[in-house]
Amino acid sequence: MGREIKIDPVTRLEGHAKIAIFLDDKGNVEDSYFQIVELRGFEEFCKGRPVEEMPRLVTRLCGVCPWAHHIASAKAADGVFGVEPPPTGKKLREIGYLAHFLESHLEHIYALGPAPDFIVGPDADPAKRNLFGVIEKVGLEVGKKVIEHRAYAVRIEDMLGGKSTHPVYAIPGGVSHPITEEERDEIRKMGQSLVDFCLFTLDVVDKYILKNDRFLELIMSPDVYYHETHYISLVDDKNKVNFYEGDFRVVDPKGREILKFAPEEYLDHIAEHVEPWTYLKFPYLKDKGWHGFVDGPESGVMRSAPLGRLNASEGFTTPKAQAEYEKFFEFMGGKPVHNTLTYHWARAIECLYSAERIVELCDEPDITDRHVRNVPTPETYKGEGIAGIEAPRGSLIHHYRGDENGLITELNLIVATAFNYAGMNMSIKKAAKALIKNGKVDQGILNMVEMAFRCYDPCFSCATHSLPGTMPIKIDIFDKDGNLVDTIQRG
């Protein structure tokens, strides 16, 4: 008589997913499924819409990472119209985008994932496992600092994009408006403060997580949060991480480069697999083929986003982030690193890179130039555009085809979270299998199962600054006849 454990919905990661865990007769995990229950159909209803409107339409794919879609869409539209932004336009797009990375990553670090889970504790009192608990442990000053710095990132997004959520900045050929010198000074000042704050964040990671033996054990153990997969990242010609443009680089579980291709060639290397139990598709490496949710060099599964980017690249172009990158791999004992929990640390390093790069861009002499856009002409129109970028949560591809009137005929979107979806599914199963034994399930164990996918910061996360909340999870355990056998509640 097997049992089913349902986590519905998954929380502190948005409510449109659920987990079903099936136990065998002995009470051990037989199988688990991480189901995405939502679909809206952008790939269908964007057909017939003007290509130039796409950067404003696709932001509604996600209100947490609208900038990622906004930028990818503008780049794909650039391709369709056959224009490139002038240098200033490109740099401004990048500044807005980096500010978004900071907003998104900092939210996750302090309020959703590692801070509550590690600073307070993975099986600590659920009522404390949120930002308030974090503040209690590290002090009110930290809380204020977090809100203040996230607000800086939001302010930069507002200044450039008009609205931080659903910006109207990037358009075919550039951006909608330049910045003044005063604005540049303000952005630079905030950027510099963010650099310091990111260094502080890395310090927090070091002090509260890496120097804690128990957590270190959790991080290092190959039995719970560990998968040997391929990794993918967008890199420049020196293989350094670049969020905005470059080629996709894929490394195998041993860290060897096996692919490097321009986004325009993605169809040769990436395909999507469909399963009947979820609305989200699974991108995988075509070169390897889809062999299911398995690790290894022959599996098509790849992982993206912070850890994936660190593994698949040779570092960062900014000095402080590069130093942290090297420190990371030294500490972990070499490349690549398969330990899923280190996603959180990698995320913090990316924050530092973003902040440093904002300051760098502000120092460019042409950043306040008025020429921020190259207007397309009918002669330049190409009719097809493919954009590949790195979003906070993973690689992102937008591919548009437009007709002679500039209307979309077909499109393809491979979203960032999808790149990690197979990895997430596997991570939950492995953690569940390792932690749930002989039918014994309690709230601490359940939280540790959730920690498996929190690493990826799936694109249905939302920050919370406070909200003293309990972290209740209720598990109903049913027998095969659907009778309620047991109920576990925490919080």
């Binding site: 159909g41 931080s164 659903h166």
Partner: protein, 337 residues
């Protein structure tokens, strides 16, 4: 000291931007927490669906539902929220009018599934596997997914709604206004507005637009221009420049952030309550100013057709955020003959 009210947040087919809008209250979030306990919000808290189901009816003071009604889950929870909350607010453009997910009404379930799971360039699905509402794996485990409806509905299509907050997402100022309204109500200083009110201004965006050329200025559009063809002038009214802007058919109250960023309005606040159909209203406005000439009598009907065919994608443009709330609601199939 007034009692603390309770607040619940639930999303339908939403991008979560509306949750972020609440979070972006930033320091003001503490003001909110002084007067309200958030008792349910899967995005922000770990209260589960069963906990919500167990709460007594009408035990939650205010419920905010954002997102459109796209599937059976969305509908089920709209009804649960209606039962549990005394005041139910349709928060954001999607709950109000369908929003951008509402554009899916140009299609239907079958075509959406075909495109997403079979036809997109990178999808590899030779066995035509589609997501199932119910599916059993080879070990007898049953998995369910919510049923994807054939069309998108707004919140008030499925339940009785007390108030609406438009915009995509509601702006910080709008949220502050609502926060103050709730605060005053809780403290007995103000009544809540009449049921069914859209909590926003009744004027159109042109009223608060910084580029409004002023009374008495007549605007006519000789030739429509598109952002992909021109560099918008940052001072002039968009319509004056020939660039389509939905300001005349859209409520004011958002602060015109898009205009400030040098981009035209696309109507996310929805129409004023004097209008039945946002798209029809905008259609009428733009047609009325298109190429009115001295030699009108010389223009044939074909000339007029050519004039209006400058408009690309009227449906997607005029009904960007309001298709499910429009008069026609969705695309159909007619005979050719």
């Amino acid at each position: 000291m007034a009692r603390k009210i309770s607040l619940a947040l639930k999303r339908g087919a939403s991008c979560v931007g509306c949750d972020i809008a609440v979070v972006n209250l930033s320091q003001k979030l503490f003001d909110l927490l002084e007067i309200a306990d958030i008792v349910f919000s899967p995005t922000l808290l770990d209260v589960k669906y069963d906990d919500l189901r167990k709460m007594p009816d009408k035990s939650i003071t205010i419920g905010l539902y954002h997102g459109a009604v796209r599937n059976s889950d969305n509908e089920e929870f709209a009804k649960i929220m209606r039962d549990k909350c005394q005041v139910l607010i349709a928060y954001g453009a999607c709950a109000h009018m369908g929003g951008i997910p509402g554009l899916a009404n140009v299609s239907n379930r079958e075509k959406i599934f075909q495109t997403v799971y079979k036809e997109t360039f990178s999808t590899d699905n030779p066995k035509c596997v589609f997501p199932q509402t119910e599916w059993v794996d080879d070990r007898g485990h049953k998995l369910t997914l919510p049923e994807f409806y054939d069309e998108v509905y707004t919140l008030d299509d499925v339940v009785d709604v007390d108030y609406y907050v438009p915009a995509c997402p509601p702006t910080h100022e709008m949220n502050m206004e609502i926060l103050n309204l709730i605060k005053d109500w809780v403290e007995g200083k103000r009544d809540l507005p009449p049921k069914g009110t859209v909590i926003a201004r009744e004027k159109t965006l042109c009223d608060e637009c910084p580029r409004n050329p002023g009374k008495g200025k007549k605007i006519t559009v000789e030739k429509l221009k598109y952002i992909s063809e021109v560099e918008p002038d940052p001072e002039k009214c968009f319509l004056e420049q020939g660039i389509l802007c939905l300001g005349p058919a859209t409520r004011a109250g958002c602060g015109a952030p898009c205009i400030e960023a040098n981009m035209p309005c696309r109507g996310c606040m929805g129409p004023t309550s004097f209008v039945m159909d946002q798209g029809g209203s905008m259609l009428s406005a733009i047609a009325s100013i298109l190429g009115i000439s001295e030699d009108e009598i010389e223009l044939s009907e074909e000339d007029i057709e050519k004039l209006v065919s400058q408009l690309k994608d009227p449906l997607g443009c005029f009904y960007r955020f309001s298709l499910p709330k429009s008069l026609l609601r969705k695309v159909v199939q007619d005979r050719e003959v």
